[in-house]
């Protein structure tokens, strides 16, 4: 078993929290994990990515080889396309549809969504709206994780446990919001 996942978004959108949830779940399932992330300059509103590799065998490279990722999990639509060279032709894109517009030449959202739909294996979810309904728009990252959970080779309950662990220090309310966000994402993806 092997999942090679590219997490993408804009600095500050919470892709490292997604990575942390998957990481905690991987520990629970005794899986090997390597997760490479970006710190420093690009975190200031620039594009950010994380390579996350899960396997039941030891993993060598900290980076996913180009063309071999099984999944692009993106909290921003344009950013999901930036990492297409990494995605295998049978891989999936799961992305938020709500754009994060902080550049003057951001392309029309419809064109971006059309481009994503050209990849047959796609799930596009309005994660911001779903998250708002779950209790906080800031849980959009966890909504996308929920929508992608079917492509992550671990029981859904492990992801739930990991969300509980990760947000435990921030109060019961946030734990519940994020659990609702995770489940709503899963439900959307069907």
């Amino acid at each position: 078993m092997k999942n090679d996942i590219i997490l993408s978004g804009v600095g500050g959108q919470g892709i490292l929290s997604i990575a942390a949830v998957i990481g905690l779940a991987a520990v629970e399932n005794n899986l090997f994990l390597k997760q490479s992330e970006v710190h420093g300059m690009s975190q200031r509103g620039g594009d950010v990515q994380s390579h996350l590799r899960l396997s039941d065998m030891p993993i060598m490279s900290d980076l996913i080889p180009s063309g071999k990722a099984d999944l692009i999990l993106s909290v921003e639509p344009m950013e999901s396309l930036r990492y297409l060279p990494f995605l295998s032709f049978s891989g999936w894109i799961v992305t938020n549809s709500t754009p994060f517009i902080n550049i003057p030449d951001y392309p029309p959202v419809d064109e971006i969504l059309n481009e994503i739909r050209k990849i047959k294996n796609n799930i596009i979810i309005d994660a911001d709206s779903v998250a708002r309904e779950a209790g906080s728009v800031r849980a959009g990252n966890i909504v996308v994780l929920g929508a992608a959970s079917g492509f992550i080779s671990m029981p859904f309950s492990s992801l739930e446990n990991a969300v509980r662990k990760l947000f435990a220090g921030k109060g019961e309310e946030l734990v519940e919001i994020n659990l609702r966000a995770l489940r709503a994402g899963k439900e959307f993806a069907g």
Partner: protein, 539 residues
């Protein structure tokens, strides 16, 4: 016990478990998380480990050497260019030698994700004649800290631990020791002259260092971190170091490329092992993250021996970090590619946060400087370097920590007036102070804007050494009190701030404008903490 740790965190956890008493560092990507991890570790607090940020890498290096002098284990961590700042202390610490174990961590940034160059710190190991470790995994990084402290004490020499971005910022499971090493008790050096590098003593100590280096070469030869992995395809042999080993294994495990591999993670590079693999193979492919250090050594000046493939003949790109695809191509294996990036995807460079004080400072500066013409704003390293990008296009230099002040002074010497420096508060206390003293002593006509957000912002908001003291420091150095101005960079103060900037630019002497407003990121975090504290009080 197993724990998921970044490479940086594995090093930090190991230092706690290996009986280190003092951690010294100045923030710099990709090394910052080493100190941050220690600062957030309950165990480190329990053990009363010293863990405050230093003003710069040089003060950190020297303080760590001082702790070693007193017989305790110390670590100093920095990004690669920080080792340039600390180089004087570092090189000479090899000659004094150490008392308590001393590890110098240098985190290199090939491909310059967050840096101005991609220098390879392994050169510094050779330059200083010290052993150097280069882990290929988080577990190795953890284990090496224990061995490096022991080696440091065995040979009374500092040990360099070189990592690169992809190890520093990649997380994996690490097995921690069940037997942490206790901290050392204070014990002064037995030779009271050990640390006195008067020429007569230094000459003797240098000879000792050179002979120690020969012993260290033997240690590298038998190091468990350097090993040979045989393969059936003996026409090509592969030498790989540090994290390059992972990219190699990613490609050759289960593939047809079953070549013999020599993995090197402990330096000085072991000539015997290298001779061993070169004698078996017709050509050697060298995979190293960073400069072609080993490759150059193998080729020598004449380059007329065995065929060598690597960065110098273009089999591997001459610059930039490695990845699995580059290694696959070098091995002649098929390289997989996904789809191309659609043309509508636009660049998304980093930018100022919404509500950032630097942005308001630049907006005022751009207007104030307009009448004098372009090309006169020297700047420095930090978030405000983003002032170089559109729509600001406001700065003309970013070279090294503190260079804004000194370059502005040099340009003023050449006749540029007004000549302006923009420097952050943390960069100012790192290396800007002495430059201002030079300017004051010559009464150079420069205007220095300290863009003070009261934190080390770019690296994530670490404590800044000069917070609350900047005006007093400038006055103490000798800047005339009436030419030390404080402004608050807010849109509502825009016109007033332009006026103050213009006034000081017209002054033919040293003036300092402190543009002071808390970083929006740290302010938000602080307010959150204060709000939850208030909640607690209410309860």
């Amino acid at each position: 016990m197993k724990q998921l740790l970044l490479g940086d965190e594995a090093i930090a956890q190991a230092s706690i478990d290996a009986g280190m008493s003092g951690m010294y560092a100045y923030p710099g990507t990709p090394s910052t998380e080493i100190m941050e991890f220690i600062q957030s570790s309950e165990k480190a607090v329990e053990k009363k480990i010293r863990m405050e940020w230093s003003s710069n890498e040089k003060t950190a290096m020297e303080a760590a050497l001082g702790m070693s002098y007193a017989g305790k284990r110390a670590m100093v961590a920095m990004k690669h260019v920080g080792l340039n700042v600390a180089a004087d202390g570092f090189i000479n610490s090899a000659i004094t030698g150490v008392n308590g174990g001393l590890i110098v961590v240098a985190a290199d940034d090939p491909s310059m994700h967050s840096s101005q160059n991609e220098q390879d710190s392994r050169f510094y190991g050779k330059f200083a004649f010290v052993p150097c470790f280069e882990p290929s995994s988080q577990q190795e990084a953890y284990n090496m800290v224990f061995d490096a402290f022991e080696m440091s004490e065995k040979y009374k020499i500092p040990v360099l631990l070189r990592i690169t971005t992809r190890l520093a910022h990649s997380r994996a499971s690490v097995t921690l020791t069940d037997h942490p090493v206790p901290q050392k008790i204070m014990k002064l050096p037995s030779d009271p002259l050990q640390f006195v590098l008067l020429p007569a003593i230094a000459r003797k100590k240098y000879k000792t260092l050179l002979s120690t280096y020969e012993s260290i070469k033997y240690d590298a030869r038998i190091s468990k971190y350097n090993f040979f992995r045989d393969g059936k395809k003996r026409d090509t042999g592969i030498i790989s170091c540090g994290i390059a080993y992972n990219y190699l294994m990613e490609n050759i495990i289960g593939s047809s490329a079953d070549y013999p591999v020599l993995k090197i993670s402990a330096y000085p590079f072991p000539a015997d092992l290298v001779k061993d693999i070169t004698s078996r193979c017709r050509e050697i492919l060298v995979l190293e993250e960073g400069y072609p250090v080993i490759e150059e050594g193998l080729r020598g000046i004449l380059d007329n021996g065995i065929k060598i493939l690597g960065r110098l003949d273009g089999v591997i790109p001459r610059d930039g970090e490695l990845n699995p695809a580059i290694v696959a191509k070098a091995l002649g294996l098929p390289v997989s590619h996904g789809r191309n990036i659609p043309s509508l995807v636009k660049m998304r460079p980093p930018s100022f946060c919404k509500g950032c004080g630097h942005a308001d400072m630049f907006n005022a500066l751009i207007e104030a400087v307009k009448p004098f013409g372009p090309g006169r704003v020297f700047s420095d390293i930090g978030c405000y370097t983003l002032g170089a990008l559109p729509p600001y296009n406001a700065i003309n230099s970013c070279v090294d920590m503190g260079a804004s002040v000194t370059m502005a002074t040099g340009a003023a010497d050449a006749g540029l007036f007004p000549s302006i420096a923009v420097i952050g508060d943390s960069t100012f206390t790192h290396s800007g102070l002495t430059g201002i003293l030079d300017a004051v002593n010559k009464n150079s006509p420069v205007t220095i804007i300290i863009s003070d957000n009261s934190t080390t912002g770019m690296t994530g908001g670490q404590k800044s050494a000069g917070t609350g003291k900047l005006g007093a420091i400038c006055e103490g150095i000798g800047v005339a009190k009436e030419h030390i101005r404080t402004i608050i960079p807010l849109r509502k103060n825009h016109e007033e701030n332009i006026g103050i900037m213009k006034e000081e630019m017209e002054y033919r002497g040293v003036s300092v404008i402190i543009a002071s407003r808390e970083c929006i990121q740290t302010a938000t975090r602080r307010k959150k903490i204060e709000a939850s504290d208030e909640k607690l009080i209410e309860l």
